[in-house]
């Protein structure tokens, strides 16, 4: 592979590309972990958010509001620099990055999912209740299937936000695509100037993100969902 690239773009650029692609795997791992972890926590908070019990709901609202209002960069600084220094503990960059991105993802995911649940017509809840379904069964059999359909495209779309978000983790020395891109871009080596390296890095991010953007759009069309309506619902809540 590298030999082939070498003949194509020269040995130096082939090596550079190989380094960047190898760093990309960490970007992918971090994205996937944050997406899955954030999704699970987000799901829990979505459910807490709609429980009939008042104080639990308020707690969930506070959680979502907090982590939506905190810049991801600050989360990274706090977990990667603040906590280690304050508690005199060693927090490896990957752990700080994972925790930060997971919290960030969970807040936004539960907001999207709450929007999806809320966009279901009140009549559906009432119809379910009229059939004698309790809250849980109503949610399980009547509301969720409809909400799931609405929530899928923006969920896939949010994956793009997560991937882009991981690019900030280099700031606490997480060895991802961005970190290596910056290293090479700053190296002052001929052939690795910023106007070559950063577009290349951008291209790699684009190749990770754009398919997801397309998939999200395709789902939106095939499921016939008005994402604008959902957007507006979400924004009203936020």
């Amino acid at each position: 592979m590298i030999e082939f690239l070498s003949t194509l773009i020269g040995p130096f650029h082939a090596k550079m590309l190989a380094v960047l692609l190898s760093a990309t795997q960490w970007t992918v791992y971090l994205s996937l972990t944050a997406f899955i972890g954030g999704g699970l926590i987000g799901l829990i908070f979505t459910l807490l958010r709609i429980t009939p019990i008042n104080w639990i709901r308020k707690f969930a609202v506070a959680y979502i509001w907090t982590f939506q209002s905190v810049p991801l960069l600050m989360l990274l600084f706090l977990t990667g620099l603040g906590i280690p220094i304050f508690y005199q503990v060693n927090v490896p960059p990957w752990m700080a990055a994972t925790v930060s991105l997971t919290l960030f993802t969970s807040a936004y995911m539960s907001e999207v999912w709450r929007g999806a649940l809320q966009s279901i017509d009140v009549g559906q809840w009432e119809a379910g209740r009229a059939l004698g379904l309790g809250f849980v069964k109503n949610l399980r059999y009547v509301i969720s299937p409809q909400a799931l359909k609405i929530a899928t495209p923006p969920t896939v779309g949010f994956m793009v936000q997560v991937i882009k978000g991981t690019s900030l983790a280099y700031i606490i020395d997480f060895n991802d695509l961005m970190r290596w891109g910056k290293k090479i871009g700053n190296s002052q080596i001929d052939g690795a100037e910023p106007f070559i390296v950063f577009p290349l890095v951008a291209l790699i991010y684009f190749l990770l993100c754009f398919p997801l953007t397309l998939l999200s759009r395709r789902l939106e069309q095939s499921l016939n969902i008005d994402s604008n309506k959902l957007m507006l619902t979400i924004n009203k809540g936020g």
């Binding site: 907090t66 209002s69 905190v70 810049p71 991801l72 960069l73 600050m74 600084f77 706090l78 620099l81 603040g82 906590i83 220094i85 304050f86 793009v160 882009k164 978000g165 690019s167 900030l168 280099y170 700031i171 961005m178 891109g181 910056k182 871009g185 100037e193 910023p194 106007f195 070559i196 950063f198 577009p199 890095v201 951008a202 991010y205 684009f206 993100c209 754009f210 953007t213 994402s227 604008n228 957007m231 507006l232 979400i234 924004n235 009203k236 936020g238």
Partner: protein, 226 residues
């Protein structure tokens, strides 16, 4: 065990000055970036929905490129890459502002375009029936209604973007995040500093949302949510 020393942050006058400066810079960047980005975004959205391929394809490419790559990469490209290509030397503030404007414009364009698509067909039809021309219909009928419809989304996007702008401290723009890092590098109270910064960002985003929502009610007094 918990020994929080927030006073270490305002221990020295220079720290306080840097913080206040940083807040001012962050707000200024957002105002300029918000306005210029909005104007770019409007142009992009119009070009994106145009029938002319020469306008549509480049604008769509730009929008997708920006939306599918991280801000930080765009920032480094605009601040370090572009100056080498064009052999200009702007102050980093200007380069960073340019990067922010380009970034904002792509997100705004996508929202505004959704607004265009959502104005009821009957509106432009009624305008046509009155004999209004294409440009008048766009400017007087479709645009104001589209903007009113997507205004809440624009505000949310603005606040979301605000929370991502701290990264411009990386290129030496002395914004709020930069001020925090400056202080933390000197008093070694990273934890307290970033807690204060976090609260400052949250408060500023609440402030932005409040001011923008109030502005919206002034600009679109006729708008009723359906």
């Amino acid at each position: 065990m918990i020994d929080l020393r927030f006073y270490e942050i305002w221990r020295e006058q220079i720290f306080v000055e840097k913080l206040i400066n940083g807040i001012g810079t962050s707000i200024l960047l957002m105002i300029l970036g918000g306005i210029i980005g909005f104007i770019f975004g409007l142009a992009l959205a119009t070009a994106r929905g145009s029938k002319i391929r020469f306008l549509r394809i480049p604008s769509a490419t730009f929008i997708e490129s920006v939306r599918n790559t991280p801000l930080i990469v765009q920032l480094f490209f605009v601040c370090f890459g572009l100056p080498m290509i064009f052999e200009y030397r702007w102050p980093f503030f200007a380069s960073a502002l340019l990067a922010l404007c380009l970034n904002f414009s792509a997100y705004y364009a996508e929202i505004i375009r959704a607004g265009f698509d959502n104005v009821e067909y009957g509106q432009s039809e009624a305008a046509r029936a009155l004999g209004l021309g294409k440009n008048d219909i766009l400017a007087y009928i479709v645009l104001p209604q589209a903007l009113a419809k997507v205004y809440p989304s624009l505000v949310s996007q603005f606040v979301f973007l605000f929370l991502t702008t701290g990264i411009i401290s990386e290129v030496g723009v002395e914004d709020l995040t930069w001020a925090g890092r400056y202080i933390a590098d000197r008093n070694f109270r990273d934890f307290e500093v970033f807690i204060v910064l976090t609260i400052a960002y949250a408060l500023l985003s609440v402030m932005f949302r409040g001011v923008l929502t109030a502005t919206g009610q002034l600009v679109f007094p006729w708008y009723r949510e359906k």
